[in-house]
Amino acid sequence: MPILYLKNTFTDIGDATLFTKKFFKEVFIPPYETKEFFKQCYLIGYKSLPLVALTGFIMGLVLTLQTRPTLATFGAESWLPGMVALSLIREIAPVITALICAGKISSGIGAELGSMKVTEQIDAMEVAAINPFKYLVVTRILATTLMVPLLVIFADAIGILGGYAGITIHSDVNAYRYISQVFQSLGFIDIIPATIKTFFFGFFIGMIGCYKGFNAANGTESVGKAANSAVVTASLTIFIIDMLAVQITDLFF
């Protein structure tokens, strides 16, 4: 049984690798599905803004409220803005936003493509001489790769705003002073590696959603399975990429 499970896992990894290879082959070959790409950017990026804004604000607020008592013990409350900003930008905002995107976007793509597969819509595209991989997969992976980093930057900004709200609950701090302290504590070394890893988060969120949906088996049950499997795999992949990214950043910076 464990051998069969391992065999299936390795087969799945092999298939996903071939799927990724096909993406890199198709992405450069015209015709380019520009209209569909912008539509997906709108659906993935713009439509996720309220959710990301709300979670970003709560992240900043809660982080401030939870950290304040510990820092107050050591009389280091003045470090609070810098600490909140560093934690948000380097780790919390990228990972939490990516996990939210895995839940919302990856499962959405998995369910959408899975349902298209089951109802023969993908076959209908194929017989109408339209390349479904290019139209459905390439556009979605490109859109998530571009939109997730933008959503993370947006979550960073809203999170810092949430941090300010957290600080003002207990003390009267000038907004200008708060923002100055935030920027003083941040360097490019904090922002750039954290932003680079979000492109990988975005790519894998799109790729896993598309792979699971595009390869859904026949039957409506497989649509739910594709969506569920997309969320679980994408979330796990985000943690693995984050771990690797932190190790690499640690080595070079």
Binding site: M125, V127, A128, A129, I130
Partner: protein, 258 residues
């Protein structure tokens, strides 16, 4: 004198016997399950061939092989004089635009309205057409299936019969020479089934298409078939005109006509 007359008729209708689809020794297996075990068939220009058989006999697989959706294990398929097995995507697509395929469910794109469903395909292959010309084409084809007033509806707002008609309209918009129907009347009531069958006959007469119709519906077969083939155990078990097969002494063949 009579043979001379026959010669004239043959000269006047040279396409009568022109093979449009030719399948030779087609084999397809899924794992250990051999579905097609050597299918041979020819469809001539302007002919409507109905394929009958029990579920799982490989009827749909056969027509999916014709459009390259399923790759056969062995055999040859020639469509419009070109061998399609082994063709690259671009070359295959040149043939695919000449073939219409009506799926069992209609397979309309759920996220698009009826207009967008038709426009999506047409815009890619008729780039010289203006927006006004595309609109006219869409309305014309919707009128030909009797659903011009459904142009702005979403697929979720359509009944089963309407979805099939719109699916057919989407198939017709590229003016195909060949149409493959995968169970066009399955899941429909008797009256709607008859309407769809009559539509298939109407399309053949007006557009001079060549068709393969996969069906379990004997009234559809009776109405549309120029010739009927019956599949059994992965091979063609019987072939002939509807009326000939109806009187067949073979018990298996007769069981379809009861």
């Amino acid at each position: 004198m009579k043979s001379e007359q026959e010669n004239i008729v043959q000269t006047l209708t040279p396409n009568k016997r022109t093979p449009i689809i030719e399948i030779k020794d087609l084999h397809k297996s899924f794992g250990n399950n051999a579905v097609l075990k050597g299918i041979n068939l020819t469809v001539n220009k302007g002919e409507d061939l109905v394929i009958l058989g029990r579920s799982g006999e490989g009827k749909s697989i056969t027509i999916k092989c014709i459009v390259g959706l399923v790759i056969p294990d062995k055999g040859n398929i020639s469509v419009l004089g070109e061998e399609i097995i082994g063709l690259k995507r671009n070359e295959l697509n040149k043939i695919r635009v000449k073939i219409g395929f009506l799926f069992q469910s209609g397979a309309l794109y759920d996220s698009m309205s009826v207009r967008e469903n038709l426009e999506f395909t047409l815009r890619r292959y008729s780039k010289q057409l203006s927006t006004q010309e595309i609109e006219t084409e869409i309305i014309d084809v919707l009128e030909s299936v009797g659903l011009a007033d459904a142009i702005d509806k979403m697929p979720s707002e359509l009944s089963g019969g309407m979805r099939k008609r719109i699916g057919l309209a989407r198939t017709l918009i590229l003016k195909p020479e060949i149409i493959l129907y995968d169970e066009p009347t399955t899941g429909l009531d008797t009256i709607t089934s008859k309407e769809i069958s009559e539509l298939i006959v109407d399309i053949k007469q007006k557009r001079k298409t060549t068709s393969i119709i996969i069906t379990h519906d004997m009234s559809c077969a009776k109405l549309t078939a120029d010739r009927v083939m019956i599949l059994k155990d992965g091979i063609i078990h019987a072939e002939g005109k509807y009326k000939e097969l109806e009187k067949s002494k073979d018990e298996w063949v007769r069981s379809f006509f009861i």
